[in-house]
C-alpha cells in the first residue's frame, strides 16, 4: 500500500467513526426491550407474496416467479433465462439480487447475472417471498442489488412433491409449413420440472431435490444468431439438470441449515458485450450453510459457502474461450450480544476466490469485518451497520479498503408505519463472476467477445442510497403506500458500448471499451395500494416513475437508461372453495429506447402492455393441482431488447403434486396469512 493510500484509509476510518458516534446517539432515543436481535426482524414491505399468491401463479421456475414479483424488472435474450434488475434503480447492469433461502445466502453470480435456474428452490417450495430493495452486502463481501428473501416450511413427516410445466407459444405455421418452407416453428419450453422427497419432524428436516429444464428457442432472432455460431446441426436448445440435498434444524438454542448441489447447463451463453451466442456447457458445484446458536449471553452465527464453476464449449464456427473456472469459498462468524440498551453484532469473515484459464490466474483473499449496532422496541427499530472488505492488490495495483454502511430506522404501528434507510458504498467488491474481474485477469475470450483489458488502477466507485417507504392501513383490508428511492453514483466504471446493426437485427458486434469515472443520479417514486384479505380477492396496484440525471455524462446516461421505465401494474388473485385459484396480472410500461444501439436498431420502442392470467384447479382431494396460464395475452411483439425474442401469446400447462394434500382448500386456507420474511 502506498503512503497516500494509508492516509486516505485513516481519513475514511476517522469519518466513519464520527458518523457512527452520531447515529449511536440517535439510537439511544429508543427504548430497548431485550427481544430478539434486530437482524432477525424485518419491517413491512409492499414487495411480498405469500404461499397462496405464489401457488396461484402456476409458476414452476424460480425465474417465472421473480418475473411476477411486482417490483422486479427483467430482461432476457431468450425469454426463459431471465436477468433480474430489481426495481430498475440499479440501471441496466447492476450486480443482481442476493437470494436468501431461509436465511442462507445462495451466491450464484456468473458473467454479471445470477444463475437462478441452478438454485435449490422452486416456487412450489415457498411459503413466502419478499423483495427488499437497496444495495446489500452478502456474507463474504459480495455486493448485490437488493435481496430476494425466500422462505420454506419445515417438513413434518415424509413428503414428496413436484411439478412439471410446458409452455407453448402460439404462432407455429402448422399445415402452412408444407406450402411455404420458409416458415419456422416458434419457441417452446418444457418440460421444466422439479421434484422433492424429504422427511422432517418439525425440528429436523432432510430433503433431496432435482430441477430440470429444457427450452427450445426457434425465434428468428435467436436461431439466426445460433446458426451463425454453431458448427453442428444444432437447434438452440437449453437444458439444465440440478440435483441438491439439504438438511435443516430448528431448535430452541440452535438453528442450522446446510445445502449442497450440482448443476449442469448445456446451451448457450449470451452477453451484451459479445453479441454472439456462446455454445457452452456450465458445470457448477456448490455448498452453503448457516449455523446459529444461543450461547448465553451471546448468540453466535456462522455463514459458509463454497462453489466451483467450469465452462466448456461446443463445436462452433467462431473461436470460443478456453475453459474458464472460478472457485470461491467464504466463511463469516458473528457474535451478537444484548447490552441492555443496545444490541451489538460483530463479525469477521474471509473469502478466497480464484479465476483461472489456461495458465492465467487471478487469486484474491479478502478478509472482512462487520459491526452492527441495533436497538428495538415493539414498534420502533433502528440499526447501524458497517461492512469493511480488504481488497488485496493484484498485478501491481494497490490494496484498498471497500465499505458499505447502512442506517435503518423503522416504525411499524397498527395502522401504518415507515421505513427509512440510508446507505453509503465505496470501493470495489470484486467477484470472479463479474466481467470486470475477467478483464483484470486478462482472460482470453477468443472470437466470442473482444474484451478490452482493464489495466489501469481500479476506480473507486461510490454511491449513496436513500430509501423511504411509508404505508397506512385503510378500511376493508386496503393498505396504501408510497416509496421514494434516490441514488447518487460517482466514480463508476462502465462499459462504453455502441452497437451497430446496419443490416437489421443480428449479431450485435459491439465496439466497446472500459470507461471511468462516471457519475449521476437516479430517482424512483412509487405509489401503490393493496388489499390482502385472505377471504377475498387479493388486489395489488402500483405506479412507478423513474428519473435519471446524468449531468451531461453520456456514458452514464446510456448505461442507466433503458430500464427505468414508468410502470403501472395491477394484479388480482383469489383462492376459491373447491380448490380453484386464479390470478391476473396486467402491466403497462412506458415507451423507451435502448440507447446503446445506433440507427436503425436504435429506435423508439412502443409502450409495452403485459397481460397474463392463470387458472388452477386441485384434483384428487388436493394431492394434485393443474394450472392453465395464458402468458402475454395481447399477442404482440414486446420490444424488450433488439437482441431479444418476439414474445407471442403462450400457454403454459402446469401439473403439480404433493403427498401432503398441499392443494386442498382447507390446507391452502391455512397458508393464506400474509407474512414478510
Amino acid at each position: 500500500m502506498t503512503g497516500h493510500g494509508k492516509h486516505t484509509d485513516r481519513v475514511r476510518l476517522r469519518t466513519a467513526l464520527l458518523t457512527y458516534a452520531f447515529f449511536l446517539g440517535v439510537m439511544t432515543a429508543f427504548p430497548a426491550t431485550g427481544q430478539e436481535s434486530p437482524a432477525e426482524q424485518a419491517s413491512w414491505t409492499p414487495w411480498a407474496m405469500n404461499a397462496s399468491e405464489i401457488q396461484s401463479t402456476g409458476a414452476v421456475r424460480l425465474s417465472e416467479l421473480f418475473r411476477m414479483m411486482p417490483a422486479v424488472e427483467t430482461w432476457s435474450p431468450d425469454r426463459y433465462t431471465q436477468r433480474f434488475l430489481g426495481t430498475g434503480i440499479g440501471g441496466m447492469h447492476p450486480a443482481g439480487p442476493a437470494v436468501y433461502l431461509d436465511g442462507v445466502a445462495l451466491p450464484a453470480l456468473f458473467l454479471d447475472r445470477v444463475l437462478t435456474e441452478s438454485l435449490p428452490v422452486s416456487p412450489g417450495d415457498l411459503e413466502a417471498v419478499a423483495w427488499l430493495p437497496g444495495v446489500h452486502v452478502m456474507p463474504g463481501g459480495r455486493l448485490s442489488e437488493g435481496r430476494m428473501m425466500l422462505r420454506t416450511p419445515m417438513l413434518r413427516g415424509w413428503e414428496a412433491s413436484g411439478a412439471m410445466a410446458v409452455i407453448n407459444e402460439t404462432g407455429d405455421p402448422g399445415p402452412a409449413k408444407h406450402t411455404d418452407a420458409r416458415l419456422e416453428n416458434v419457441d417452446r419450453s418444457g418440460p421444466a420440472s422439479w421434484l422433492r422427497a424429504g422427511w422432517g419432524n418439525g425440528r429436523w428436516m432432510v430433503q433431496a431435490g432435482l430441477q430440470t429444464d429444457l427450452h427450445h428457442l426457434t425465434d428468428d432472432r435467436i436461431s439466426g444468431r445460433v446458426r451463425r455460431t454453431y458448427a453442428e446441426i444444432a437447434q438452440p436448445v437449453v437444458t439444465q439438470f440440478s440435483p441438491f440435498v439439504r438438511i435443516r434444524y430448528e431448535g430452541h438454542r440452535w438453528q442450522g441449515h446446510l445445502l449442497s448441489g450440482h448443476s449442469r447447463r448445456k446451451g448457450f451463453t449470451f452477453h451484451e458485450s459479445a453479441g454472439w451466442e456462446w455454445p457452452s456447457r456450465l458445470r457448477r458445484s456448490w455448498a452453503a450453510g448457516r449455523l446459529a446458536g444461543r450461547l448465553d449471553p451471546v448468540r453466535v452465527v456462522l455463514d459458509i459457502d463454497a462453489s466451483r464453476l467450469e465452462t466448456g464449449v461446443r463445436p462452433a464456427f467462431i473461436d470460443l474461450p478456453p475453459t474458464i473456472s472460478t472457485q470461491e469459498a467464504s466463511g463469516k462468524v458473528s457474535v451478537e450480544a444484548d447490552a441492555g440498551w443496545l444490541e451489538v453484532r460483530a463479525g469477521v469473515g474471509v473469502r478466497t476466490s480464484e479465476l483461472s484459464q489456461a495458465g492465467l490466474e487471478l487469486t484474491r483473499t479478502m478478509p472482512s469485518a462487520h459491526l452492527r449496532l441495533g436497538r428495538a422496541s415493539p414498534r420502533w427499530r433502528t440499526h447501524l451497520s458497517v461492512e469493511i472488505l480488504h481488497v488485496p492488490g493484484v498485478r501491481g495495483r494497490d490494496a484498498s479498503l471497500s465499505s458499505h454502511s447502512e442506517w435503518v430506522l423503522a416504525h411499524d404501528g397498527p395502522d401504518g408505519g415507515f421505513h427509512l434507510d440510508l446507505g453509503y458504498l465505496q470501493g470495489p467488491f470484486p467477484e470472479p463472476g463479474l466481467l470486470t474481474e475477467w478483464a483484470q485477469a486478462g482472460l482470453d475470450m477468443a472470437g466470442w467477445m473482444s474484451l478490452p483489458a482493464l489495466d489501469e488502477q481500479l476506480s473507486s466507485p461510490r454511491s449513496l442510497d436513500l430509501g423511504v417507504t411509508g404505508y397506512r392501513a385503510f378500511t376493508g383490508n386496503w393498505t396504501g403506500w408510497v416509496e421514494g428511492r434516490l441514488r447518487w453514483m460517482d466514480g463508476q466504471l462502465f462499459p462504453d458500448r455502441t452497437i451497430n446493426q446496419p443490416f437489421g437485427i443480428g449479431p450485435m458486434l459491439p465496439v466497446w471499451e472500459w470507461s471511468s469515472p462516471h457519475s449521476g443520479w437516479l430517482f424512483s417514486r412509487s405509489l401503490g395500494v393493496q388489499r390482502l384479505d385472505p377471504e377475498a380477492i387479493v388486489w395489488r396496484a402500483f405506479l412507478q416513475f423513474h428519473h435519471v440525471s446524468s449531468e451531461g455524462d453520456d456514458v452514464f446516461f446510456r448505461h442507466q437508461t433503458g430500464f427505468p421505465r414508468h410502470r403501472l401494474w395491477i394484479s388480482a388473485s383469489e383462492e376459491r372453495d373447491g380448490g380453484v385459484s386464479w390470478t391476473v396480472r396486467a402491466g403497462y410500461l412506458s415507451e423507451w429506447t435502448w440507447p446503446e444501439y445506433l440507427e436503425p436498431a436504435r429506435r423508439s420502442v412502443p409502450a409495452d402492455i403485459v397481460l397474463d392470467a392463470t387458472v388452477g384447479k386441485s384434483l384428487f382431494s388436493g394431492y394434485i393441482k393443474t394450472f392453465v396460464s395464458l402468458l402475454n395475452l395481447p399477442d404482440r411483439a414486446l420490444g424488450v431488447h433488439p437482441a431479444g425474442v418476439e414474445e407471442q401469446l403462450a400457454i403454459r400447462l402446469t401439473l403439480s403434486f404433493s403427498s401432503e394434500r398441499r392443494f386442498s382448500s382447507s390446507h391452502s386456507a391455512g397458508r393464506t396469512e400474509h407474512q414478510t420474511p
Binding site: P173, G174, H178
Partner: protein, 226 residues
C-alpha cells in the same frame, strides 16, 4: 434475405368477417342461454360433478380460412360435460381427416408456369376443455353455450422421420348447442367457431349433430374432480 412475417393483428381484427359473424351469433346465443335460465333464480345450483353428460356426434366444416389446399373430411366428436361453478365444465375430443390437394408451390418455371405438388393428407385430433352456461339439464329444449380451449395435434401422411410430420398448436373458440330431449336421450345440434393459433391463422366454423346421454357421475370420478 431476412424472412419477413406478415404484420400482426389483434384477435378481433384478424377474424374474417363471416367467422366474426358466427362468433358474435354464438356469443349472443350463450347470453340468451344464461338469460333464459328461469329456474336459476329459484332452483338450487346443481351439485358440482354430480352428473355426467356424454355426447357423440359427427359434423362438417362449412367455412374455413387458412387451410387452403386441404379438403376437410367428416368429424367424429366425443364430448363430456358436468355441472360446475354455476355452469358446465366440458371436455372434448375430436378426430378429422383432411385430404391434401395439388397446391401451388410458388416456384415459377422458365416457361412461366407455377409448379404444383401433392400436399400430404393430414389427420387432426383436437383435445379441448372449457366451461359454459346451460339453461337447464332437464328442460325439454336445452340451450348451452361456452368457450373451449385446447390443442390440435396434426399428423401428416409422410414417412416416419420426415421433418414437420407432426405439428401441434393451441386452438380456442366459442360454441353453442341446442338440444331436444327424446326419452332418455337428447338430440343436439352444435355450432362451433374455432381458431387454431397458427401463423397464418387457421379458422373453421363447423356444425355437429349427435346424441347425448346423461347419468349420475361414478363416485370415483367425483372424488378425482373434487
Amino acid at each position: 434475405m431476412p424472412i419477413t412475417r406478415p404484420p400482426r393483428s389483434s384477435l378481433a381484427r384478424s377474424l374474417s368477417r363471416p367467422v366474426r359473424k358466427v362468433v358474435l351469433t354464438i356469443l349472443t346465443l350463450i347470453l340468451m342461454a344464461s338469460a333464459t335460465d328461469s329456474r336459476a333464480q329459484t332452483a338450487p345450483r346443481e351439485e358440482a360433478f354430480s352428473t355426467l353428460r356424454l355426447g357423440l356426434g359427427s359434423g362438417a366444416v362449412f367455412r374455413q380460412r387458412g387451410m387452403q389446399g386441404w379438403t376437410p373430411g367428416v368429424e367424429t366428436r366425443l364430448t363430456v360435460d358436468t355441472p360446475y361453478a354455476g355452469g358446465r365444465l366440458r371436455f372434448d375430443g375430436a378426430y378429422r381427416a383432411w385430404t391434401g390437394d395439388d397446391a401451388a408451390t410458388g416456384i415459377t418455371g422458365r416457361d412461366g408456369t407455377v409448379s404444383t405438388a401433392d400436399l400430404p393428407d393430414v389427420r387432426t385430433v383436437d383435445v379441448l376443455a372449457g366451461w359454459g352456461l346451460s339453461n337447464a339439464t332437464n328442460a325439454p329444449i336445452s340451450l348451452d353455450g361456452g368457450l373451449l380451449l385446447g390443442n390440435r395435434f396434426m399428423l401428416f401422411d409422410l414417412p416416419t422421420g420426415t421433418p414437420a410430420r407432426f405439428e401441434s398448436e393451441m386452438l380456442v373458440g366459442p360454441w353453442v348447442r341446442v338440444g331436444r330431449a327424446i326419452g332418455p336421450m337428447r338430440v343436439f345440434a352444435e355450432a362451433r367457431a374455432l381458431r387454431v393459433l397458427t401463423r397464418p391463422r387457421w379458422e373453421t366454423v363447423g356444425l355437429t349433430g349427435g346424441i347425448a346421454l346423461e347419468a349420475d357421475s361414478p363416485r370415483w370420478i367425483r372424488w378425482v374432480l373434487r
